[in-house]
Amino acid sequence: MIPGLGALTQDTLWCFSQLKGTVEIGATEADIISTVEFNHTGELLATGDKGGRVVIFQREQESKNQVHRRGEYNVYSTFQSHEPEFDYLKSLEIEEKINKIRWLPQQNAAYFLLSTNDKTVKLWKVSERDKRPEGYNLKDEEGRLRDPATITTLRVPVLRPMDLMVEATPRRVFANAHTYHINSISVNSDYETYMSADDLRINLWNFEITNQSFNIVDIKPANMEELTEVITAAEFHPHHCNTFVYSSSKGTIRLCDMRASALCDRHTKFFEEPEDPSNRSFFSEIISSISDVKFSHSGRCIMTRDYLTVKVWDLNMENRPVETYQVHDYLRSKLCSLYENDCIFDKFECVWNGSDSVIMTGSYNNFFRMFDRNTKRDVTLEASRENSKPRAILKPRKVCVGGKRRKDEISVDSLDFSKKILHTAWHPSENIIAVAATNNLYIFQDKVN
C-alpha cells in the first residue's frame, strides 16, 4: 500500500496501460488533442485534434493467453472531420479544430458520432465492410476489356469475403446556424434531437433536418456593449428529454424546461453560490467562469468546473453546491502571472466515473486530480512518459506550498504551465480512463491483482 493514497485506492490502484500519439518531441500544433470521448458501451474511444482529425480506438477482445493485458484500445478508424475554411463575408478564418465529439446511441451495426468545430456540426457514420463484389461482364479478372462479341451469357456479381475495412462517411452537415463559436454539443435522450451552444445562443436540431434549427436560448443583448456574460457550456439531462442546463462566464448555471415554452430564455432553476467577500480580488470574476458542466449519470447532480475548483450541485438546491473540491488551490497566489501568460483562461473539463462516485479533472504539469465523493479523499496523478512502462503503478504526486520541500514533492514554482490536461474521459462502466496530454493520449486502468 502506498501511503497517501488512502481510501480512494483501496479498490483502485491506477496503472499505466497505453500511450497513443507520437513520442518524438516536436509534435505539430495540429496534433494537439482537443477532445476525448468514450461511446456508450466503452468499446470505442474517440479523440479529436486541432488538425480537424478524429481518431477512433476500439477495445480489443480480451484473449485468454494475455490475461494481464486487458482489452487494449487500438486504432479503429481515422478520418478528417473538418477542414480549415474562410468566411469571405465576415473575413474570418474558421479553424478546423474539433471542439467536441459526442456519440449517438447505437441504432444499427454502424456507429454514429457528432463532431464540431467553431461553426459546423457534422454527423459521421463509422461502419464496417467485409465483403466485396467480384465479376464483371465487360472486363475479365485482370480488368482487361472483353470483346463485346464474346459476351454470350450474363454474369451477376458475387460477394466474396475480404479484409475488414472501416469506413467513415459524413451523413449530415449542420452548418450556418452559429454566429459565434460553438462550445458544446449534447445529444438528447429522445434520440432524435441534439443541441449546439455558442457564446450567446443555443440551437436545437433534429438529426434528420440540416437546413433549419430552433433557437432555444438567446442571451445576446440588443446592444452588444451591454454584454456581461457568455454561455460557456451546455448539456441535456441524461433521461429527461425536456431538461437541459447551461453555464455562464459569471459562474452561474441555469436549468431550463423545454416543456414550458418554445423559447427557453427564462430559466426554471438558477444555481449560484454567493460570493465570499473575503476572497474578492481582481481575478474573482475570471476564475469563477465555468469551463465545463456535466450531469451525473443518475441525472440527480450537476458538476461544474471553474478555474480552481470542481463543484457538485444537487438539482434540488440552487443556493449553493453540495460539494466543492479544490483542484489546485496553491495557484491562488500565482493568479497574476497566470493572467499574464493567459493560462487563467484555460478551459478545464471534468468527468464522472460510471457510478458517479468519483470525479476527475485536469491541472497543470500534466497532473490530473481525482476526488472520491464518499470518502472525501483525493489524489493527484501524473501522465508522464517516465511512468509509461506496462502496468507501472501511478505514484501520487504532491505539490508543496512554500516552506520546506519534502522528497517526492514538487514546488509550485517548478510546475510546467505549458503541460496542461484539459480533456479527460472515463469509461462508462469500468475503471479505465483516457487522459489527453497535449499531443499524447494516455490510457490508465485500475490494477487487478
Partner: protein, 649 residues
C-alpha cells in the same frame, strides 16, 4: 442512359455475331457497381430490365442475394432499390416466390436513413398482399417477428409499420402473437421505437377486432399518452383520432376522453400544440356532443395558452372549428363561447398569433351573417388592418373576398386605404410584392371610381420602384387591371402615364415602358397599340443604351402579332433592320430574332416578301449569333451596353 448507349453504339459492328440484346444488359449489370453514383442509380432504376433478362430463376438465386448485401450504398441508390423491389413479384416468378424478396428488403429496413427504411417498409407492405395466407405465416410473419425483436432499434421501428398488414390475414393463434409483439414495442426501452409504435397505433387499431381494441389498444394508448418523453406523448394525440373513430360515443367518453383531456392540459407545450393542430380531426372523431361538452372548453384554453406557438396553432383552427359545429345553435355558441377569446387574440403580444388569426378570421363572416359581422367582426378586422405587423394586415387584405360576399368591401374602405398605402410603401420589398398581387382583386371589389381616385397613383409608383421584382409585378398588375376595367380606361388613365416614362433619364424606367407595352398591348388591342404605343417603341430604337435597344427589338417581336401588315411592313421592319446592323452584339441578335418572327408573320398573312429581304434563310451570319457565348468571350464593346443584373436581358 448515356452509359448504356455510348458503348453500345461503339461496338455496333463487332456485336453482330453475339447476342445483341445481352450487351446493354451486361453494361447495366456492371454499372450496378460503377464508381459514379448516378450510373449506379441508373442501373438500379432499370433493375426490372436486368431481372427480365436474367429470368426468374437467376433473379432469385443470383441477383437478389447480391442486392441483399449492397446495403453499403448511398441513400439515393438504396431508396431506389427499396422502391423497385416493391414491384418485383412478377420478376421472381409470381406470388409463389414473393418471399424471395424479403431478405433484401429486410436488410434495407434496418439502415439508419429513415427515408430508406420507410420505403422498404412500404414495399414490404405491398409484397405482403401478394403472399398467400400460408406463405404469409411461413415467411412474412417470421420476418416481422425478427425485425420486432432485433437488437437495434432501427429494425424494431420498421417492424411497427408491418403489423397492420399481416394481422387481418393471419390465423387466430398468430394474431395473438402479433398483438403480443406490438404490445412489447409500445413499451420498448428506446423512445424511437415507442414513437414508431405510437404513430402506428391508430392504423393497427383499425384492423383489430373491436374487443381487442378496447381491451388491448386502449391501455397501450393510455400508456403512451403518459410516456415520460414529450415526443411520444404528442404522437398519442394523433392516435386519439383513429381510435375514437372506432368506438361508440359511450366508449369514447369512458376510454378516450380522459386521455385527451389530459393531453390538452399537458405540461409540455408541444403536446398541447399537437392537440391544437389536430383539433378539427379530433372534433370530427369524437362527434358533436363531446365537442360541445369537452372540446370547446379545451379550445378556449388553447386560445389563451401561455405559449405563443400553441395559441397560433389554435388560432389557425378557429374557422374550421366554427364551420364544423352543428348548425343548430352554432351562431349563439360562436358568439358566446368563441368570439370573446378571438377578441383577446386580436391584441395578442405575439405577431405570429395575430397573423394566424388574421388568415382565418375573415372566414367567420359567412358563418355569422351580415349583422353579426358588422357589429362584432368588423371592429376586429379594422383593428387588424391597423396592426403594426405587415403580415397581419396582409392576411386580412388577402381574404377580403370572404367579407365582400357578406357585407361588401365598402364598409372597410375607410380603414382599408391607409393600410394599403402603408403596405405599398413598406420598406421590405416582399411586403410590397405581396400587396401588388392583391391589387386586381381589390380593384374589382372597390370599383373603378374608387380605384382611380385612391389607388391608381400607387400602381404607377410601383413602376419606378428600385427593385426589379416590384417593377415586374407592377407591369403584370397593369395588364390585369386593363383586363378588368377595359381598354377605354386604359387609354385614358394608364397608357399616357406609361408612355411618358419613355423619356425618363433613367434607362431602367425607359425599359419599364417597354415591359409595360409588352404586357398591355394584347389587352389594349390593335388600335391603341398601333396608334399610341408603336411610335414610342420605334422612337426608342435610337436610345443610347444597348439594353433599351435590344428590348425594343424584343418588344417589336412581342407586339408584332397585334399589328396589321402595313405597320409591320412599313414601320417595324425598317427599324428592325437598322437594329440588325447595330454595333452591339446582343442588339443585333435580338433584332435578327425579331426580323425572322416578323417575316414569318408576314408570310402567314400572305404578304409578298422579296427573297433578298428574307432574313431567316440560314446563313453564316445568323449562325454567328446563335453560337453560344463562352464565359471568357468578350462582346468587344465594353461599356456599350449597361448591364443591369436585375433586369432580364
Amino acid at each position: 442512359m448515356a452509359g448504356v448507349a455510348g458503348p453500345a453504339t461503339g461496338s455496333g459492328a463487332a456485336g453482330g455475331d453475339g447476342d445483341d440484346s445481352l450487351y446493354p444488359i451486361a453494361v447495366l449489370i456492371d454499372e450496378l457497381r460503377n464508381e459514379d453514383v448516378q450510373l449506379r442509380l441508373n442501373s438500379i432504376k432499370k433493375l426490372s430490365t436486368i431481372a427480365l433478362a436474367l429470368g426468374v430463376e437467376r433473379t432469385r438465386t443470383e441477383l437478389l442475394p447480391f442486392l441483399t448485401d449492397t446495403i453499403y450504398d448511398e441513400d439515393e441508390v438504396l431508396l431506389a432499390l427499396a422502391e423497385q423491389l416493391g414491384n418485383f413479384t412478377g420478376l421472381v416468378g409470381g406470388p409463389d416466390f414473393a418471399h424471395c424478396l424479403l431478405p433484401p428488403l429486410e436488410s434495407l429496413a434496418t439502415v439508419e436513413e429513415t427515408v430508406v427504411r420507410d420505403k422498404a417498409v412500404e414495399s414490404l407492405r405491398q409484397i405482403s398482399q401478394e403472399h398467400t395466407p400460408v406463405a404469409l405465416e411461413a415467411h412474412f410473419v417470421p420476418l416481422v417477428k425478427r425485425l420486432a425483436s432485433g437488437d437495434w432499434f432501427t429494425s424494431r421501428t420498421s417492424a411497427c409499420g408491418l403489423f397492420s398488414v399481416c394481422y387481418p390475414r393471419a390465423s387466430i393463434a398468430v394474431k395473438g402473437e402479433i398483438r403480443q409483439y406490438f404490445r412489447s414495442l409500445c413499451s420498448d426501452d428506446t423512445p424511437m421505437v415507442r414513437r414508431a409504435a405510437a404513430s402506428k397505433l391508430g392504423e393497427f387499431a383499425k384492423v383489430l377486432e373491436l374487443d381487442s381494441v378496447k381491451s388491448e389498444i386502449v391501455p397501450l394508448f393510455t400508456n403512451l399518452a403518459s410516456d415520460e418523453q414529450d415526443s411520444v406523448r404528442l404522437l398519442a394525440v394523433e392516435a386519439c383520432v383513429s381510435i375514437a373513430q372506432l368506438l361508440s360515443q359511450d366508449d369514447i367518453e369512458a376510454l378516450v376522453m380522459p386521455t385527451l383531456r389530459q393531453a390538452a392540459e399537458d405540461k409540455s407545450w408541444r403536446v398541447r400544440y399537437m392537440v391544437a393542430d389536430k383539433f378539427s380531426e379530433l372534433q370530427k372523431a369524437v362527434g358533436p356532443k363531446i365537442t360541445l361538452n369537452d372540446l370547446i372548453p379545451a379550445f378556449q384554453n388553447l386560445l389563451k395558452d401561455c405559449e405563443a406557438e400553441v395559441r397560433a396553432a389554435a388560432a389557425h383552427k378557429v374557422k374550421e372549428l366554427c364551420e364544423n359545429l352543428p348548425m343548430e345553435g352554432r351562431e349563439t355558441m360562436i358568439m358566446n363561447q368563441i368570439l370573446p377569446y378571438i377578441k383577446e387574440l386580436v391584441s395578442d403580444t405575439n405577431q405570429h398569433v395575430k397573423s394566424a388569426l388574421a388568415s382565418v378570421i375573415m372566414g367567420l363572416s359567412t358563418i355569422l351573417g351580415k349583422e353579426n359581422t358588422i357589429e362584432h367582426l368588423l371592429p376586429l378586422f379594422l383593428a387588424q388592418l391597423k396592426d403594426e405587423c405587415p403580415e397581419v394586415r396582409l392576411n386580412i387584405i388577402s381574404n377580403l373576398d370572404c367579407v365582400n360576399e357578406v357585407i361588401g368591401i365598402r364598409q372597410l374602405s375607410q380603414s382599408l386605404l391607409p393600410a394599403i398605402v402603408e403596405l405599398a410603401e413598406d420598406a421590405k420589398w416582399r411586403v410590397r410584392l405581396a400587396i401588388i398581387e392583391y391589387m386586381p382583386l381589390l380593384a374589382g371589389q372597390l370599383g373603378v371610381e374608387f380605384f382611380d381616385e385612391k389607388l391608381n397613383s400607387l400602381c404607377m409608383a410601383w413602376l419606378v420602384d428600385h427593385v426589379y421584382a416590384i417593377r415586374e409585378a407592377a407591369t403584370n398588375n397593369l395588364m390585369k387591371l386593363v383586363q378588368k376595367f377595359g381598354t377605354e380606361w386604359a387609354q385614358n388613365t394608364i397608357v399616357p402615364k406609361v408612355l411618358v416614362m419613355a423619356n425618363d433619364p433613367n434607362y431602367l424606367h425607359r425599359m419599364t415602358t417597354l415591359f409595360c407595352i409588352n404586357a398591355l398591348s394584347e389587352a389594349c388591342g390593335q388600335e391603341i397599340t398601333t396608334k399610341q404605343m408603336l411610335p414610342i417603341v420605334l422612337k426608342m430604337a435610337g436610345d443610347q443604351v444597348a439594353n433599351v435597344r435590344f428590348n425594343v427589338a424584343k418588344s417589336l417581336q412581342k407586339i408584332g402579332p397585334i399589328l396589321d401588315t402595313d405597320a409591320l411592313q412599313e414601320e417595324v421592319k425598317p427599324v428592325l433592320q437598322k437594329l440588325g446592323q447595330d454595333e452591339d452584339m446582343d442588339v443585333k441578335y435580338f433584332a435578327q430574332e425579331a426580323i425572322s418572327a416578323v417575316a414569318q408573320r408576314l408570310r402567314k398573312l400572305d404578304f409578298p416578301v422579296k427573297d433578298s429581304e428574307e432574313p431567316s434563310a440560314p446563313g453564316a451570319d445568323k449562325n454567328h449569333f446563335l453560337r453560344p457565348r463562352g464565359p471568357g468571350e468578350d462582346t468587344g464593346k465594353e461599356g456599350a451596353a449597361v448591364r443591369d443584373s436585375q433586369a432580364p436581358r
